[in-house]
Structure formats: structure tokens, C-alpha cells
């Protein structure tokens, strides 16, 4: 008998706000977190816009020594974990510390640290690079530092699957609990990759929007005039618990993680195949894992990156899975407001999906002036909408043909 897994805490820092509450408020208001890049001088860059954190005070979460030594992706993870654990009212105690683990996915880890230290290496030689570079750069150090801070001695991992990293982290963590290897897992995703090298390289692939004159209208999933994604940064973490463990301690239960699908396109290093059959199989796998049918799903938080191919093919995949009943679904992309947090997307979007279930409010797809994926679908255009829902999917797909889908269900009983 598979153990059931529920969400008992959530924490996030995103371009819409430095907490789940502020982020959700921005989502419900249809606000955009996109603006001019302030982290570096964008002279000569094709893309000059991104979704950065605003007014984030790292010293609320780390001391000055740590601030110098931890890449931003580690600091964002510690901040989110602090908030998620506080939200769950959980204290990881000595005798069952090995039943609590951490999986935090990141597409690229401490890229800014690597870029900075490379500059020092070239300018001042090998004797001048920081001894803290490696621990600041390795992607698994966000999980490492979170496990240190909370004394979590159970399973630890970092899922590195590009834009699906956060979803794979939560799904793998769910399976670890379901199969009995842990009772608690802190899980989600993070990235802090708005750097000169990263923006230049994504521009070289022609992957980013260049709508620099209208930053807040640049991320426009499913819209006819979309021209690429807008890079974001941030972290979203959830606390997952085995159901009877959560009930025994009187935890507040947000929702159940009832299914997880993982598939590979085996097609191209960055582009999905027409119809995105791998994504269709992934949604089917997730539903099968949950023991649910397509008709049980009310809402899909889409991957919806605002790139020409993903958005078109994702909708085709949804139609493949849901057939005629696709018209009864609400589908929206919150990347229209947050931008694309890369590894952080799966973590933050899981949280937004859980909030939608909890509060009965559907996040909108903003900037959807002219949908070109079919006028028969409910893409929740422009404005959030109060609507009670019972179950939802969160889709994320990454470079390398990786697909990951989670099923969340309202916990009512």
C-alpha cells in the first residue's frame, strides 16, 4: 500500500515578492515581475530585460560572512527553506533527523560565482581565486546548506534537469516518502542565473524575448506575438510529509501530491517534437501514477514559456491527452507574470498550483491579447478568476527533452 504524501509548508522568493503571500498576491493581481536588468550593464546585449527579485534583503537570512561565501542561489534556497519550515511548524528533531531529507533542483547552480572567479583567474592568476568558489558553485550546495541549517540527515539530492529541475525534485521527494525512505522532505527548485554569460548565451540561441521597450508585456505565453522567454530568478520550496505523520502532529495540510510523471522526448537537445508527444505521455504517466483520469483534472499550470514552439506543442499535447474535455479545463501560464525561473520554475509553479487549489482562484495568463493556440480553450486570459478546483497538473519541460509533471489534489477528508 503506497504511503500518501501531502504539502504542509511552502516558502518562496520570486520576482513578484519575497514570500509566498506576496507572490500569490501579485499573481492574483495579474502583476508582472519583469523589468530592466539591473544586475549588470546590458550595453551590447540583445536582451535587456529580466524578472529579478526586488528589495530582497539577504541579511534577513544569512550573516555577512555567509553573504560573501554563498552564491545567490544558495541564499535564495535558505530564505525559502526558512519560510517553508516556519510555515509547516515543523521542528526536525534529533532522533528522527534521518527521516527528513532535502532535494533542491537547480539548472546551473552558482554560475555568477564561476563567472566572477574566472575573471579573477584571468586578471590576477590562480593564487587569487576564492577557496569558497567550489562550494558556492556546485548545484547541490543549496540542498547541502538547507540540510545543515535544519539538521536534516535523510536522503539528499539535487535534480539537474534544466527547466524541469524543480518539478523533478518534488516528484522524486514524493516517491522517496511514498516508498518509505523518509517521512519529511524539503523539496523544490532554485536558480539565480541572470548573469552576462547566461543572457549572452541564451541570446545566441535566440531563446529570449527582445521586447526591451515593453518589459512587462514581453512574457506572453500562447500569444501570437510571443518572441521568446523572459529569464527570471528565485526559489520555491515545499515541505512534503507522509500523511499519517502530518495528521499525527496536527499539521496544516495544503494539498496532496498524488502523482508524478517523468518521460524523455529523445528528439532534440533543445526543441520539442511537433505535438510534443513526450509531454503527452508524461501527463498520462502522472495521471496513471495518481490513479486518476483526464476528466478528474480541472486546471493545468502550463510550462508556457512564451517561446514559439513550446507553447504551440504543449497545447497540442494537452489536446492529445484530454481530447474533447480539454475545453472543460482551465490552462494558464504563470510565467506570463514571474518570467521563467529555470530550475526555480518547477518549485514556484508547484506552490502556485497548490495555492490555486487551496484558495479556489485560478492564476491568469497575462498579456494574452491574441491567442494563436485555438480560441476554444480557456487560458484564463488577463485576470485571475475565482473558481473552486479539485485537482490540477503542473507541467515543466526542459532542454534535453526532459518532461516532468506533478498531479496535485485538494485534501479534504
Amino acid at each position: 500500500m503506497k504511503r500518501r504524501v501531502v504539502v504542509t509548508g511552502m516558502g518562496a522568493v520570486t520576482p513578484l515578492g519575497n514570500s509566498v503571500r506576496d507572490t500569490w498576491e501579485g499573481i492574483c493581481a495579474g502583476r508582472s515581475g519583469v523589468g530592466d536588468i539591473t544586475k549588470f550593464d546590458t550595453t551590447g546585449f540583445d536582451t535587456k530585460i529580466a524578472a529579478e527579485l526586488k528589495n530582497f534583503d539577504p541579511l534577513s537570512f544569512v550573516n555577512k560572512k555567509e553573504l560573501r561565501r554563498y552564491d545567490d542561489f544558495i541564499i535564495y534556497s535558505l530564505a525559502s527553506a526558512d519560510m517553508a519550515i516556519a510555515d509547516s511548524s515543523l521542528r526536525i528533531a534529533g532522533d528522527w533527523a534521518d527521516r527528513a531529507g532535502v532535494i533542491i533542483g537547480s539548472a546551473i547552480g552558482g554560475l555568477a560565482t564561476i563567472e566572477n572567479q574566472k575573471e579573477i583567474l584571468m586578471r590576477a592568476g590562480p593564487g587569487r581565486v576564492s577557496p569558497f568558489t567550489i562550494p558556492a558553485a556546485l548545484a547541490n550546495l543549496s540542498a547541502g546548506h538547507v540540510s545543515i541549517r535544519f539538521g536534516a540527515k535523510g536522503p539528499i539530492n539535487c535534480t539537474v534537469t534544466a527547466c524541469a529541475s524543480g518539478t523533478n525534485a518534488i516528484g522524486d521527494a514524493m516517491r522517496i516518502i511514498a516508498q518509505g525512505y523518509a517521512d519529511i522532505m524539503i523539496a523544490g527548485g532554485v536558480d539565480a542565473a541572470i548573469t552576462p554569460l547566461s543572457v549572452a548565451c541564451f541570446n545566441a540561441m535566440r531563446a529570449l524575448s527582445v521586447r526591451n521597450s515593453e518589459p512587462q508585456r514581453a512574457s506572453r505565453p500562447f500569444d501570437r506575438d510571443r518572441d521568446g522567454f523572459v529569464m527570471g530568478e528565485g526559489c520555491g520550496l515545499v515541505v512534503l510529509e507522509e500523511l499519517s505523520f502530518a495528521r499525527a502532529r496536527g499539521a496544516r495540510i495544503y494539498a496532496e501530491v498524488s502523482g508524478y510523471g517523468m518521460t524523455s522526448d529523445a528528439f532534440h537537445m533543445a526543441a520539442p517534437p511537433p505535438g510534443h508527444e513526450g509531454a503527452a505521455r508524461c501527463m498520462q504517466a502522472a495521471l496513471g501514477d495518481a490513479g486518476m483520469a483526464p476528466g478528474d483534472i480541472d486546471y493545468i499550470n502550463a510550462h508556457g514559456t512564451s517561446t514559439p514552439l513550446n507553447d504551440q506543442y504543449e497545447i497540442e499535447a494537452i489536446r492529445t491527452v484530454f481530447g474533447e474535455s480539454a475545453k472543460n479545463l482551465a490552462i494558464s501560464s504563470t510565467k506570463s507574470m514571474t518570467g521563467h525561473l529555470l530550475g526555480g520554475a518547477g518549485g514556484v509553479e508547484a506552490i502556485l498550483t497548490v495555492k490555486a487549489l487551496e484558495e479556489g482562484i485560478l492564476p491568469p495568463t497575462v498579456n494574452l491579447d491574441n491567442s494563436d493556440v485555438g480560441s476554444d480553450l480557456d487560458l484564463v486570459p488577463h485576470r485571475a478568476r475565482p473558481q473552486g478546483i479539485g485537482a490540477a497538473l503542473s507541467n515543466t519541460f526542459g532542454f534535453g527533452g526532459v518532461n516532468a509533471v506533478l498531479v496535485f489534489r485538494k485534501y479534504g477528508e
Binding site: 550573516n63 555577512k64 560572512k65 593564487g127 587569487r128 576564492s130 577557496p131 569558497f132 562550494p135
Partner: protein, 78 residues
């Protein structure tokens, strides 16, 4: 500013400790909460500030604040 004061300034900044804790006999690892990586970075900062090089075998002998001051004086730093 004396050499001692300059050294303590750097230690306070790097290790996030107070001036009061920085007595000459204070040991970096045992008293000031530094780990091996902190020590490497601290020494790099000293090298940068005083324009000298500290070899690894000389680094092994440095355990306390006084050890650093003695070492710098022996290299002619004031």
C-alpha cells in the same frame, strides 16, 4: 595605525568576530570559529593587503593572531 590594528581590522571583517575577541592568543580555529577555508581566505586577504606571499608550509605554523603578527613583522611589514 599599528600593524596589530591593521591585522585585527582584517580579521574582524573576514571572520565576523568582535575586536574584543581578537586577543593576541586567540586561535583562529579554536577561538574565532574559523574553519580551514576561512583561514585560507584570511591569509589571501593578508597577502593582498601587505603585498607579501605566504607559502603553504609557513601557513601551517599560523594558529593564533600573534602568529600572524610575528610572521608579518619577520617579513618586514609594519
Amino acid at each position: 595605525m599599528t600593524l596589530t590594528e591593521k591585522v585585527i581590522d582584517i580579521i574582524v571583517e573576514q571572520l565576523e568576530v568582535t575586536r574584543e575577541e581578537c586577543v593576541p592568543e586567540a586561535a583562529f580555529i579554536d577561538d574565532l570559529g574559523a574553519d580551514s577555508l576561512d583561514l585560507v581566505e584570511l591569509i589571501m586577504e593578508m597577502e593582498e593587503n601587505f603585498g607579501i606571499q605566504i607559502a603553504d608550509d609557513e601557513l601551517e605554523k599560523i594558529r593564533t593572531i600573534q602568529d600572524v603578527i610575528d610572521f608579518l613583522s619577520s617579513k618586514g611589514v609594519t
